[in-house]
C-alpha cells in the first residue's frame, strides 16, 4: 500500500520545460497515470471487482503525502496554535500559518489576511451571508444567484432574504446548462447587494464565464461571491485575475482532508464586516463590558481550528503544485469527452449538462431506468458514482428529472475506467431496460 517510490513519483510529476508535459500528457497519459499510485485507497476491490472511483465531485481521494503530513502532525507536532509559548505550540502555529501562505499563493490572493480558514465551502458562504449580508442587505434589496447553484449557495441567501425582507433573484440557464448572460445583465439592478455564483456547476459540470460576470456586476458596483468547490481541483484559480470579491472552496474536493476549507475575501470588504462567531482567537481583549476584535484573518476564526486538516490541505496544495495543472485539465477533459461520446451511443441515454465549457462532470439519465438503480448496478460492478439530485434540486426541476446519475473524473482516473463505466451502463440496460 505504501510501496510506491516517492522519489520516482516525484520525477514523474516534475514539470519539464515549456509545454512538453502538456503535449506528452495528452498523447501519453502514462505521465499523469503515474500519479494514480500516490492514492492508496484506489487500489482495492469492491464486490470482488477493482474499484472504479468516479465520485470525485462528491469528494476526492487523498494522496499518501497528504495522509503522511497529517499523521506526522499528530505524531510530532500536535499542539494548540496562537496560544502557547512552548516549542510545540510555536511549531504548530508556524506550520498552520505556512498553509495560509500556501493558500494565498495557490489562488493568488493579495495578502494572507484575505485567507480565512473555515470548515468548507458551505461555511464560507454562510459566513458571508451572515456578516456581509446581514449588514448590507435591507428590506426590498435583492440577492442574485443562479439556477444551477448547489443548495449551499441557495439556502444561506434564502435565510438572509427571509430575515431582511429582501428578494432572492435567479439567473436562468438554457437547456445546455449555460447561464443566460443577457438575462443576468437585466437582473443586475440598483437594489442588488451581492451576486453569488458557482464557478463550476456540481450537477452539470458547466464552467461559468465568471470573469466576465464579475466585470458585469462590478459595472453596477455589486460584489460577487464565487462558489469554487468544484473548480479548485480542476482549474487554476487566480482571484485577482477574476477580480471576484469572495471565493469559497473546500479542501476535501481538492485531494485534502474533510473539515477544512477557505474563504477568500478582499481585504477592504473583510475589514468592514462584523465577526461571524464569537470565541477564542478572534479577540484581542475581553472584558465583560467590551471586546476588542482581532485583526484579519483571525477575526473570523473563533475557536481552535481544524489544525490537522489545515496541515493536510497544505500538503494537498504542495502536491497539486508539483503537477502540470494544464496537462491535468487537458487529460481530465479527454476522459470526460471519451465517456460522453461512449455513453451517448446508447439509445435512451441522455446527458444532462452539455455546455460548451465543462469540467469533469458527466450527469446522465437512462430512459425508463431510475438513477438509483443505475447506481446500485454499477456499485455491484465496483463502480462508484453519485445518484440523486446532487443538492441541486432546482437543476433537476429545470431538466424535468427527479435525479441523475453522475460520473465525475479526477486525473487519477483512466481510460480503462471509462470503459468499465460504459460496460456497467450496458449491464444496467440489459438488466432493467
Amino acid at each position: 500500500m505504501h510501496g510506491f517510490d516517492r522519489d520516482e513519483s516525484h520525477m514523474i510529476m516534475m514539470k519539464p520545460p515549456g509545454d512538453t508535459m502538456l503535449r506528452d500528457a495528452v498523447g501519453n497519459p502514462g505521465l499523469i497515470l503515474g500519479c494514480r499510485h500516490h492514492f492508496p485507497l484506489l487500489h482495492q476491490q469492491i464486490n470482488g471487482k477493482a474499484l472504479v472511483y468516479l465520485d470525485n465531485a462528491a469528494t476526492s481521494q487523498k494522496p499518501q503525502v497528504v495522509i503522511d503530513a497529517m499523521m506526522r502532525y499528530y505524531v510530532e507536532e500536535n499542539s494548540n496554535i496562537h496560544r502557547g509559548v512552548h516549542y510545540l505550540s510555536e511549531k504548530a502555529t508556524q506550520a498552520y500559518e505556512r498553509v495560509r501562505a500556501k493558500v494565498q499563493e495557490f489562488i493568488n490572493a493579495a495578502s494572507v489576511g484575505e485567507i480565512i480558514f473555515v470548515r468548507g465551502t458551505t461555511e464560507a458562504v454562510n459566513l458571508v451571508a451572515s456578516t456581509y449580508g446581514r449588514t448590507q442587505v435591507r428590506e426590498g434589496d435583492e440577492v442574485l444567484i443562479s439556477e444551477m447553484e448547489h443548495h449551499s449557495n441557495i439556502v444561506p441567501w434564502q435565510i438572509l432574504c427571509g430575515e431582511k425582507g429582501a428578494r432572492l433573484k435567479v439567473v436562468p440557464m438554457n437547456n445546455d446548462g449555460e447561464l443566460l448572460l443577457e438575462e443576468y445583465e437585466k437582473l443586475l439592478t440598483p437594489r442588488t447587494r451581492i451576486v453569488a455564483l458557482a464557478h463550476v456547476s456540481n450537477a452539470l459540470g458547466t464552467i461559468n464565464p465568471v470573469k466576465e460576470m464579475v466585470t458585469m456586476a462590478h459595472r453596477h458596483g455589486i460584489p460577487v461571491l464565487l462558489d469554487g468547490a468544484q473548480s479548485a481541483p480542476h482549474l487554476r484559480v487566480d482571484v485577482r485575475d477574476i477580480d471576484c470579491d469572495f471565493y469559497a472552496f473546500s479542501s476535501h474536493k481538492m485531494f485534502g482532508p474533510t473539515g477544512v476549507g477557505v474563504l477568500y475575501g478582499k481585504e477592504h470588504l473583510l475589514d468592514a464586516m462584523p465577526p461571524y462567531q464569537g470565541g477564542g482567537d478572534m479577540i484581542k481583549s475581553v472584558t465583560f463590558e467590551k471586546t476588542v476584535y482581532n485583526d484579519l484573518p483571525y477575526r473570523f476564526e473563533a475557536g481552535t481550528p481544524n489544525i490537522g486538516g489545515g496541515i493536510g490541505l497544505g500538503a494537498a496544495i504542495d502536491y497539486l503544485g508539483r503537477l502540470d495543472r494544464d496537462a491535468v485539465a487537458a487529460y481530465e477533459h479527454e476522459l470526460l469527452d471519451l465517456a460522453t461520446r461512449q455513453l451517448a451511443l446508447f439509445p435512451g441515454v441522455r446527458v444532462i449538462g452539455t455546455a460548451k465549457e465543462k469540467a469533469s462532470v458527466l450527469s446522465f439519465i437512462i430512459e425508463g431506468i431510475h438513477p438509483h438503480d443505475i447506481g446500485t448496478i454499477l456499485d455491484v460492478e465496483g463502480i462508484a458514482i453519485r445518484t440523486g439530485h446532487h443538492c441541486a434540486q432546482p437543476v433537476m426541476k429545470h431538466f424535468g428529472v427527479p435525479a441523475t446519475a453522475r460520473a465525475s473524473f479526477a486525473f487519477y482516473n483512466t481510460k480503462e475506467e471509462v470503459d468499465a463505466l460504459v460496460r456497467g451502463v450496458r449491464k444496467v440496460i440489459e438488466v432493467l431496460g
Binding site: N47, G48, I369, H370, P371, H372, D373, T376, I377, V380, T387, G388, H389, M396, P402, A403, K427, V431, L432
Partner: protein
C-alpha cells in the same frame, strides 16, 4: 460477493415493468403521498376500506425499480386483507429487507415478498423497498401528511 440477481429478482423486474394496480382510484376513501427526498421516489397510494378490510388499493407515481415493484407487489398482496393483517405483513417485510429474518429457514410464508430478500444486502435500498409500506400504514392510520422515509 453480491450478485445483482439477488436484488433484481424476476418478480421485481416484472412488477417494475408492468406494475399492478397502477392507476388513480375514483372514490378512494383515502389517498396518501409517499416521498423519499433523497432519491426522488414519489408515489400516491389510494385506499378503499370497508369494515376494516382493504377492499381496493392502487398507486401512481415515479421511482426506482425497487420502490415501484415493492408498491406493486404490496397492492396485490393486501387487497382483501384486514388492516391488522396488512400491518403484520409490513412487519414481516420490514424484518426481511433489514436482514433480521433468518434466510436459512423457509421463506414460503412470505410468498411474493420473498423476492425482496436480496434488499438486505443493499442497505441504501431498504428505504426504497419500504416506502410504499410506510405509506400504506399511514393511510390505514388515516394520516394525511406526506410520508417520508428520510
Amino acid at each position: 460477493m453480491t450478485d445483482l440477481r439477488d436484488l433484481y429478482q424476476e418478480v421485481i423486474l416484472d412488477h417494475n415493468k408492468s406494475p399492478r394496480n397502477f392507476h388513480v382510484m375514483d372514490g378512494a376513501d383515502r389517498s396518501v403521498e409517499g416521498y423519499n427526498p433523497l432519491c426522488g421516489d414519489h408515489y400516491t397510494l389510494y385506499l378503499k376500506l370497508r369494515k376494516g378490510i382493504i377492499q381496493d388499493v392502487s398507486f401512481t407515481g415515479v421511482g426506482c425499480a425497487i420502490s415501484k415493484a415493492s408498491a406493486s407487489v404490496m397492492t396485490s398482496l393486501v387487497k382483501g386483507k384486514t388492516s391488522a393483517e396488512a400491518v403484520q405483513m409490513f412487519r414481516d417485510f420490514h424484518s426481511l429487507v433489514r436482514g433480521e429474518t433468518d434466510l436459512g429457514g423457509s421463506l414460503d410464508h412470505f410468498g411474493k415478498l420473498a423476492a425482496f430478500s436480496g434488499v438486505s444486502e443493499f442497505p441504501a435500498r431498504v428505504k426504497c423497498a419500504s416506502l410504499a409500506w410506510h405509506t400504506l400504514r399511514a393511510a390505514l392510520e388515516a394520516k394525511e401528511q406526506v410520508v417520508s422515509t428520510e
